[in-house]
């Protein structure tokens, strides 16, 4: 035993230390003329025409962990950044953000999902969505990493893990086809082949989706695995490839996953008129001025990209305190100047004006507004109207992927701007909102949502109506009738529960956010339907219990409108009148469900109702002030006279 310990200690002492990461520290981009490596670290060098293929040449897809990690030896640090760490146990939560949304119009399903455990979202494992299926559903817009790269789910043997795709952000030119990557992931399940195809390095023959669940890449079936034909013209005579990589990510790369487009009112029947009218929209004022997204949303080597909300620094400090080896990285005080307020006004300890940010004047706006409203309340997103507007996003509506048939109201139904008090700052803040809608099993106060496939397996498709073509982006169909809902619930209660395939089993990992066991194939409880803010049972309709909660909201910050287009720029009565959209909005939560959301307090309603009398207060004030001043002057003069005497 002692010998073993001694040998281990010696091995540790003699183990080669990792070389520090290579850097140029220049503002000039480094030209990446690099050797591509596969997952084993073997160089990839396809044979040129007329050349014999080298016996050692790899025919595997590019591994960016190996290729980029060769010089960027701090890859491990990078791999815990915001974009990659969601599935890691103990990953920081941060302010609630946009969830992934499981959508199925036929079953009226729209369920917000997140590995981060944001309140109001569901952990994918709780629904029975394992890492593999998560990638299959959402990997199209997910840069990879975490459990999605390392998971032991069965089918990852065929597809490969979803490694962090450095190129999806860091390529500058149009040399990266993110849509092609999405096809490889969602259609062909060729997860590990995605970056190779997207970067035009080669083409893939075959589809991992066609491989059996028990596929063994080391067994005789290996020959059935997808194959890569590299584009030899991309490689120079020593096997190097030039890829146009930059540190400061271009906006267009961010936009692949972070585009959002307003699509008008939920009750509009104009097809895709709003989508087609996007040429009328202005961009974010910061981008119009020539800034990059990463000028504010910047990051260090840890890739903990600054989100730019008030209180982010405090969150990071807490994360650092919570865990000695925090994934959040070391809290950096300068990020306080990367929020709207921090950048435009500065903080107590740091000056503002970064990137030449002007100091706003806000003529005539009493300072108490800054205690009550976030900057985004007046400046971000579309101007509020009497009804919240629909919005489509890349993550929810697969923007960036081609389509021929779509509508403005394409599912899932996300609405904006909906003004709510931010629980951290207590300021009125515009949000995007989704009302979860799903069938599930209710046990006590807990509802476990059902996957659409489980409903189909239960044979309720005929009751719910036709399933839309998977290639079309259709709206949520009309609301189900009480009779339809009852029939479905009845059928679910008697239908045999489908057995779980081994490939769909959720692997328990012992993480705090994961279920400790795989979900039962027969969930306990009674079938229910959650729709809008109601809970449908066989026994009748009840309001949704507070413990379940609806809707899920996350603050919106872009696009930022310039001063002249800000809320209130045309006068105080844009807000200070009863019925003003900032305080009173109707929300078409789902077809047939209108939620009347009034956020103004009774005091605010009284203030708004009497606001038109404000001019009288001002006149009375000035006259009184003049009289008091004159009286004071008369006294003063009289006193001066007395003193002289």
């Amino acid at each position: 035993m002692l010998l073993i310990v001694a040998a281990l200690v010696r091995a540790q002492e003699t183990a080669p230390t990792k070389a520090p990461p290579e850097r140029t520290y220049s503002n000039a981009p480094f030209v990446h003329r690099i050797v591509l490596l596969d997952e084993d670290g073997t160089p990839i060098r396809p044979a040129k025409p007329g050349e014999d293929a080298a016996a050692t040449a790899s025919n595997k897809p590019v591994s960016l962990a190996k290729t980029c990690g060769k010089c960027h030896s701090d890859y491990d640090v990078m791999s815990h950044g915001w974009h990659f760490n969601a599935s890691e146990p103990g990953a920081p939560q941060g302010r609630p953000g946009e969830p992934w949304i499981l959508t199925d119009p036929q079953t009226r399903t729209q369920i917000p999902l997140s590995y981060r455990g944001w309140k109001g979202t569901f952990q994918p494992y709780d629904l029975g969505i394992n890492d593999f299926n998560f990638v299959r559903l959402f990997g199209r817009h997910y840069p990879g990493g975490g459990a999605l790269a390392d998971s032991k789910d069965l089918r990852f043997k065929a597809s490969g893990g979803l490694e962090i795709d450095c190129l999806i952000c860091h390529t500058r030119d149009n040399g990266y086809d993110a849509a092609a990557r999405a096809t490889q992931i969602s259609t062909d399940q060729n997860f590990k082949y995605g970056p190779t195809v997207a970067a035009f390095l080669g083409k893939v023959q075959g589809s991992a989706a066609k491989l059996r669940d028990n596929f063994d890449p080391t067994g005789p079936d290996a020959r059935r695995a997808p194959k890569i034909n590299y584009d030899a013209s991309r490689f120079d005579d020593v096997g190097q490839v030039v890829i146009d990589i930059v540190r400061r990510v271009p906006n267009e790369r961010c936009y692949f996953c972070h585009t959002s487009i307003d699509t008008g009112r939920a009750d509009s029947k104009d097809g895709n008129a709003a989508l087609e009218s996007r040429w009328r929209h202005d961009r974010d004022v910061h981008l119009v001025k020539g800034m990059l997204c990463v000028d504010c949303h910047r990051n260090g080597a840890d890739h903990m990209i600054v989100r730019g909300y008030e209180g982010e620094y405090e969150d990071r400090v807490k994360d650092d305190e919570r865990s000695a080896d925090s994934l959040a990285g070391k809290a950096e005080i300068s990020i306080t100047t990367l929020s709207c307020q921090g950048c435009h006004y500065g903080t107590n300890v740091m000056p503002g004006g970064r990137n030449a940010a002007p100091r706003p004047l806000h003529h005539g706006m009493p300072p108490l507004h800054f205690n009550e409203l976030s900057c985004t309340a007046c400046h971000s997103g579309p101007k509020p109207a009497d009804a919240a507007m629909l919005v489509q996003t890349s993550m929810a509506h697969k923007l960036g992927l081609t389509r021929r048939e779509t509508v403005d109201a394409a599912a899932p139904t996300i609405l904006q701007p909906v003004f709510m008090r931010d629980p951290r700052t207590h300021k009125l803040t515009p949000n995007r909102v989704i009302f979860p809608s799903y069938w599930g099993w209710m046990d006590g106060d807990k509802i476990t949502p059902m996957l659409p496939e489980q409903l189909t397996a239960a044979g309720v498709g005929d009751i719910l109506g036709a399933k839309p073509d998977a290639k079309t982006f259709s709206a949520m169909p009309t609301a189900l009738t009480q009779d339809q809902i009852n029939k479905v619930l009845e059928k679910l209660s008697t239908a045999p529960r489908p057995a779980l395939k081994p490939a769909d089993v959720v692997t328990a990992r012992g993480a705090t956010t994961n279920p400790t066991t795989a979900p039962s194939t027969s969930p306990a409880g009674e079938p229910v339907f959650v729709y809008g803010e109601s809970l449908y049972k066989r026994s009748g309709i009840t309001p949704l219990p507070a413990s379940i909660g609806a809707p899920y909201a996350w603050p919106l910050a872009h696009d930022v409108r310039p001063a002249q287009q800000a809320l209130g720029a045309r006068g105080c009565t844009e807000c200070h009148t009863n019925g003003a959209p900032i305080f009173h909005t109707t929300i078409a939560a789902a077809p047939g469900v209108i939620v009347d959301l009034s956020r103004g307090s009774a005091a605010m309603q009284v203030l708004n109702a009497t606001y038109r009398l404000r001019w009288m207060v001002i006149i009375v004030g000035y006259i009184s002030a003049a009289i008091v001043l004159l009286a004071w002057l008369k006294q003063k003069l009289a006193t001066m006279g007395t003193t002289k005497q």
């Binding site: 009493p366 108490l368 800054f370 205690n371 009288m616 004030g621 004071w632 008369k634 006294q635």
Partner: protein, 168 residues
């Protein structure tokens, strides 16, 4: 800072009254210090009441570290015009009363009203708005302390000299 000023105003008001009770403050008889007339008493009561309500809805709220909002803000804004009218009429009636305390009250009332009005105008940007807010808090704090002293002298200073110098 607003909280600090608010607390300071309340403390100074209390301290002034205490010092006066201990006869540590100078009380000079001044011209025009006749007792309040019947109509004037009602007006003065209105002035003190409105000032008290405005202090509760602003200085006290700020002293507890909260922001002026909701019903408190509404109360403040509703009472403010009545306060303005009351002090204006009192100012007319006090023209012949030459007391330092009265002059101080008139000056601070003017400053309090004008700084509040400036915050309602579109002439000033955020930085100036904040300046006016701070100035409003300071001068209204001084006004409160001065009126507190005046009220103390009117209500509790029994001897003639005290009444004469109550600064009416």
């Amino acid at each position: 800072m607003q909280q600090g000023i608010a607390i300071l105003a309340l403390v100074v008001a209390g301290l002034l009254v205490l010092l006066d009770a201990m006869r540590l403050l100078p009380r000079r008889p001044c011209a025009g210090s006749a007792p309040l007339a019947r109509g004037e008493r009602g007006l003065y009561l209105l002035f003190v009441l409105t000032l008290a309500l405005m202090t509760i809805s602003s200085t006290v709220v700020l002293a507890f570290g909260a922001h002026m909002r909701g019903w408190m803000l509404l109360l403040h804004m509703t009472v403010a015009p009545i306060f303005c009218i009351a002090i204006a009429v009192l100012a007319v009636r006090w023209v012949q009363r030459f007391s330092c305390l009265v002059r101080l009250i008139l000056l601070m009332s003017f400053a309090t009203i004008i700084t509040a009005l400036f915050m309602m105008m579109t002439w000033f940007g955020t930085d100036w708005q904040r300046c006016w807010m701070t100035a409003h808090t300071i001068v209204s704090g001084i006004l409160f302390a001065a009126v507190a002293l005046q009220v103390w002298r009117l209500l509790f200073a029994k001897d003639t000299a005290d009444v004469a110098s109550a600064g009416r």
